[in-house]
Structure formats: structure tokens, C-alpha cells
Symmetry: C2
Subunit: 129 residues, 2 copies
Amino acid sequence: MSPDTPQPPGTARPGRSYHCHVEVTVDVIGGKWTPVVLAHLKEHDRLRFAQLRRLIPDITEKMLAQRLRELEAIQIVDRIPVSTAPPHVEYALTAQGRSLAPVLQAMWEWGRDWAATNRLAVDPVQFRH
Amino acid sequence: MSPDTPQPPGTARPGRSYHCHVEVTVDVIGGKWTPVVLAHLKEHDRLRFAQLRRLIPDITEKMLAQRLRELEAIQIVDRIPVSTAPPHVEYALTAQGRSLAPVLQAMWEWGRDWAATNRLAVDPVQFRH
DNA sequence: CATGGTACGCACTTTTTTGTGCGTACCATG
DNA sequence: CATGGTACGCACAAAAAAGTGCGTACCATG
């Protein structure tokens, strides 16, 4: 693999080998925040950076920006600059990103049930435009 | 939260707060190897430690043992000692573990499609009894 | 007892991920 | 120009996850 050859999206690690398709998914949307960010984007047509930040209270701006940049780079998320006053950016799932809906939906439902079974408090932030 | 009070399963971090059900799922089955281990267990009634190790070639025994222990602790996996010659242990998903099937299936399918789109090689190991 | 198979556990070490603190760039407005 | 809003980027630092090397415990068999 020559350094001049761009890596296919989703392979952050050169020479990464896969022996199971689930490994691929974990490689692309693994980590603490990426699935959460995607789950929120799945529920809304478009979201501003600040809206995402508010919907995910425990994420740092740094992590949010970084996750979004990476998802944009692999064409799972579109980044849409909006020239208003004040100007801002909006993020939306691409068609490719929307193909993650079954994964995210299943994760959401399982998490809901697990939380109920184990009496975990889940306090969603109210969405605000 | 007194140290004597056992944490509910799935909360490795005391005081962990959740604002989205997907965060819960990530907390329980996040990480590099847990989803992979679970995916293999989903495909087989029972698997020996050594079978899992062979099916997941890049995992260390340490990581495999650790993941299995944690999954057993939160009752997602059953650990079944088998007295044969040689003796071994078998692992199987609990009913609770099997509730993860939609998540794992969705992850598998998405990973397959992503790999195809991005020309990633996925080389599953042939199952051997 | 010695040996082999099996499944780990321990003490570190390395790698990866996430977080902290601050500053920057851009745009619009008064 | 100053100010405010917005969305980050940078240079570390801290935390978490994963890996390494070795050894141990248990069981069965000869």
C-alpha cells in the first residue's frame, strides 16, 4: 500500500484486516460519540452544530467538531454552510449515512430496553430550534 | 452512591449520565471487540473459548477472556463449563444477549455493504468444530 | 509424577480515544 | 473599529482501551 494511494473511506488504520463484517461497522461508527451524533442526525432533517451540542450535553465541542469532520470526510454526513445572520453550519446525513438507520434504530431500541430493565436514567434533552 | 451498592449492569462508570438511549447501548457493547464477539455468539448455539479465538484471529486471548468475563458479569453471555477430556468452557448468549440480535444483524449487514462499496477485504475464518 | 490441553490472570506497556484550555477565523452588525 | 455569535483548531493532558509477555490453575491421561 503506497503512501500515495488514498485509503478507502472507513479505513483509518493502514493495513487493517477484517474477518467479520461487524468489525467494519465498528471501525466506521465505533467510539463513544459517533453513534450518538448519528442517532440525533437521523431524527432531524438538518441540525446546527449548536443544536447538536445542546442535544448531546456531555460532549465537548472539540469532540463534536472532530466527529463531524470525520463523518463528513467519509461522506456519511453533509456539512452545509448557511449564510444568515448569524451565519452557521448545518449537518445532515447523506444517503449513505441514512443507510445506518437500521443500526441506529436497533441500538436506540435496545438501549431503551436495557435502561428500563436496569433502571438507568436516560434524560433526553428537549429539542429546540 | 455508596461503594457497597452494586452498580446496575451496564454502568461501568459510576455517576454516568445518559441523554440518549444509544449512549446506553454504546456503554454496554461498545469497544473494538465486544460487538464482534457477540456477533459470533449470535451465529452459533455455543462456542468454546478456542473456537472464538480462531473465529476472531486478531483478538488477543487476554482481550477475549476479558470481554467474555464482562459480558458474563452483566448476564449477556452464559459461561458453561464442560467436563470432557480435555475439559473446556462454552459460551452462549443469554436470552438477554439474544435481544441484541437486531443490533448485531444490522451492524453485520451495514458492514457488508460498506465493505463492498469501499472495496474492503473481509476474510471470515471458516468455522471449525 | 510429567505432560498436554484449556482458559485464563497479572503486571506492565503501548495505543487510542477523549478531554482541557485556550485561541483563531469568519461573518454580521452597530 | 468593537462586539457578539458561530464553529471550530491546536497543543497538550488525561483516561480508557487494547496489547505483551509471562505465568498460573485446573483437568485428564499415561
